[in-house]
């Protein structure tokens, strides 16, 4: 089980963005330079973040991106969701009423994966962008 770069980059970029947010739109170019992430890749990522209304874009010179909500209201869940980084533990198809994979009963470990999924999602639900920025600021002092 591995977290993908896309998810990590999205979070890194948003933390970077959040730190400068109050002043001006932040250009992807700046984020790219500061965080060492390819500009083209960032564009893909921000396109998704925009569609999910996590950021707003400002076109033209001096343009860039701005948070679309307060940092406090942006949870990790939202970010991962936007870039299609879902936690997925169970493959069992749920269409058959009670069982997994067409069998009559749930597979031996069905509940386990459900629990795990909840456990991880709880973590993501609780952490907000604001938390991350704060944590970062404090470490630096």
């Amino acid at each position: 089980m591995k977290l993908t770069s896309k998810g990590r980059y999205a979070v890194m970029a948003l933390v970077d963005l959040a730190r400068f947010n109050n002043i001006n739109p932040v250009s992807l170019r700046d984020i790219s330079l500061r965080q060492g992430i390819s500009l083209d890749y960032l564009e893909q990522i921000f396109s998704k973040l925009r569609k999910k209304e996590i950021v707003q874009s400002v076109r033209g010179t001096q343009g860039g991106y701005v948070l679309n909500k307060k940092a406090k209201e942006i949870k990790l869940t939202n970010i991962f969701d936007a870039v299609d980084e879902k936690v997925k533990t169970v493959q069992c198809k749920k269409d058959s009423k009670k069982g997994c994979n067409g069998k009559a009963t749930k597979c031996l470990t069905h509940n386990l994966w459900d629990e795990l999924e909840n456990h991880i999602n709880n973590f993501f639900d609780e952490k907000s962008l604001e938390d991350l920025v704060k944590d970062n600021f404090e470490r630096r002092v």
Copy 2:
């Protein structure tokens, strides 16, 4: 982020094994049939489980596998570890003394991924094979 089949299969197979453990060695063929996992793939998985001393093999006719420890003492951590299913969140190389990726400071989200890793591992550390077998038995009653 996705759990791979190898990890899921390993856990499923061990739960299956644990249920019959007290009587006789359980053959992979039986597990394969009951759980719908390819025999060849199971062999790969059990080879790893054996090397990490989670199971013991009994060769020859009527042979199979037996748990090498009490179900209570086998934690999910051990299982995932054995089949190389580690939770890996951070890519940052740790060799540079304080920073990530050769930079002077930790990357903006370093602590976050560490926390997440711990959060997930806590879950794995606490769940034992026994818990899973019990949970399964209770559901069935």
